[in-house]
């Protein structure tokens, strides 16, 4: 039984709105006729109040994404309700998306920079040996992701794409460190870690040192043998 009352109230409101519209129209046409009805009773006062409220209209949010979001004008004190809420929501969303865009740009910049640095380092290590650019280019495109054409994406899709790239490149440090380690792994590219001339030059002193010790060992053996033989000679002479 109690549940019936809200529905009754809603239906009453609807009826009263419709009545009010009709009354407005009738007031314009017959102002003298409505005199007795509006001036008397609580129902009339209620109707008058309802007349002052504006009708509900569909809200259209202007969420077109631009390169930069400008702060909207603060809503006038006269504006109330949903428009004000829509404006504040637009401001917050705009600021957030601007931040996301900036971080995406810096992330891609960082990605590009690291790739450039890695390429420079490899070039210096190899000292002029030819670098297969194709593998590096492939890696760089893989990192930044194949960027779809901007014109085909809507505003919501574009923001999602930026957010995903930012997440993929920077948000997870563990994945990044693993990726870096994979790129630094000797098996990640066909290029040698160091040139043959460099590895040979490092091993040269090691080999020379070992040869020196072997030569020393031979000298000591000869000296000991000579000494033992001279000892025996002296003892035999004595006998």
């Amino acid at each position: 039984m109690a549940s019936r009352w809200p529905a009754v109230r809603v239906s009453m409101r609807r009826r009263s709105l419709q009545d009010r519209e009709q009354l407005e129209e009738s007031e314009v046409l017959q102002p003298a006729v409505g005199h007795l009805e509006t001036s008397s009773g609580t129902l009339g006062s209620l109707c008058r109040e309802f007349q002052r409220r504006l009708p509900l209209r569909a809200v259209s949010l202007n969420l077109g994404a631009g390169p930069s979001w400008k702060r909207l004008k603060t809503p006038e004190p006269g504006q109330q309700g949903l428009q004000a809420a829509a404006h504040s929501a637009k401001n917050a969303f705009g600021a957030m998306s601007q931040r996301i865009q900036e971080s995406c740009q810096s992330g891609t910049k960082w990605l590009v920079e690291t790739q450039v640095k890695a390429r420079r380092r490899k070039r210096e290590a190899q000292k002029g040996s030819s670098v297969p650019a194709r593998s590096l280019n492939q890696r760089s495109t893989r990192l930044s992701g194949t960027a779809p054409a901007r014109s085909t994406l809507g505003p919501w899709e574009r923001e999602r794409h930026h957010h995903s790239t930012q997440r993929g490149s920077r948000a997870h440090p563990l994945r990044r460190s693993r990726r870096e380690a994979a790129f630094q792994s000797p098996y990640s590219s066909a290029e040698p870690l160091c040139s043959p001339s460099e590895s040979d030059s490092d091993l040269e002193p090691v080999g020379a040192g070992i040869q020196h010790l072997q030569k020393l060992s031979q000298e000591l053996d000869e000296a000991i043998t000579a000494e033992e033989s001279s000892d025996m000679t002296v003892s035999l002479l004595r006998d």
Partner: protein, 270 residues
């Protein structure tokens, strides 16, 4: 009796030694050819180290060293099995002028003989008499034994080099005899040391990390000891007491080989 004793080129000092310590006995023959008690002989010799005269004490030490090098292995085995060895770390003979200098050498020399006996106990063999070469003991040893053995050799070698005599201090036959016995030991000990290092370098890249650290430490110390050995050999070359043909040339060549720049370990970054 003196003719029976093996001679290194300094006859007089040994004759004096035998006459003073044991009356006309051929100690080598005593140990080698009879079943007489080595323990009794060692007891007699150790009893003589209680004398206040540096001459008597120094000569006992030289006799013991001589028997360890040239005598039967039973002698050094017995020394290694004894609970206590020479306790001459406080010895000082103030009765004569040269007593102060000689007492210093007595303290150092007795310490070396103790280390030599201890090394025999730890390795169950005399490192100076082990087989050398590619199939020798030091070249074929496994990593764990090698690391332990090299530490033992290092300690004995340090005690030997600590004798640290200058040519002007070798003023009498007794200290000269001690120095030459030490010289003989130094050649054999360093030969074994060098072969151990060669084996170590060959095994280095197959070692565990902890073993690599120990190996690097051993190698660094080996380099320092080779420099000290070069100084020791220079003293021997200057004195020229050994009647081996070409001894001077040998010493010079060995010194130059030791002091030639070789592979140095990387500096530790802090």
């Amino acid at each position: 009796p003196s003719s029976r004793i093996q001679n290194f080129g300094f006859e007089n000092s040994f004759c004096i030694l035998m006459l003073v310590t044991v009356s006309n006995l051929d100690l080598i023959q005593y140990i080698n050819e009879t079943n007489r008690s080595v323990e009794h002989l060692v007891d007699v010799l150790f009893k003589k180290t209680g004398s206040r005269s540096w001459v008597v004490v120094f000569k006992v030490l030289v006799t013991v060293h001589h028997l360890m090098v040239h005598g039967n292995e039973r002698f050094i085995q017995h020394l290694a099995s004894r609970n206590s060895l020479f306790t001459l770390h406080n010895f000082l003979d103030k009765s004569v002028i040269e007593g102060y200098t000689m007492s210093t050498f007595i303290r150092r020399y007795s310490r070396y003989l103790n280390e030599k006996s201890l090394a025999y106990r730890m390795m169950a063999s005399d490192i100076t008499k082990t087989k050398r070469g590619l199939d020798g003991m030091m070249r074929t040893m496994n990593t764990t034994d090698l690391l332990n053995t090299l530490l033992v050799i290092q300690t004995q070698f340090d005690a030997l080099l600590n004798f640290n005599a200058n040519p002007e201090e070798l003023t009498n036959g007794i200290v000269h005899a001690a120095f030459m016995l030490l010289f003989k030991d130094s050649l054999r000990l360093f030969a074994a040391y060098n072969e151990g290092i060669l084996n170590l370098l060959g095994k280095y890249f197959d070692m565990k990390k902890s073993q690599c650290k120990d190996s690097l430490d051993i190698y660094i110390k080996f380099l320092g000891r080779t420099t000290k050995l070069a100084q020791f050999l220079k003293v021997a070359e200057v004195y020229k007491s050994i009647s081996i043909p070409g001894f001077s040339v040998f010493c010079i060549r060995l010194v130059s080989n030791i002091t030639t720049p070789r592979l140095l370990p990387p500096h530790k970054h802090t």
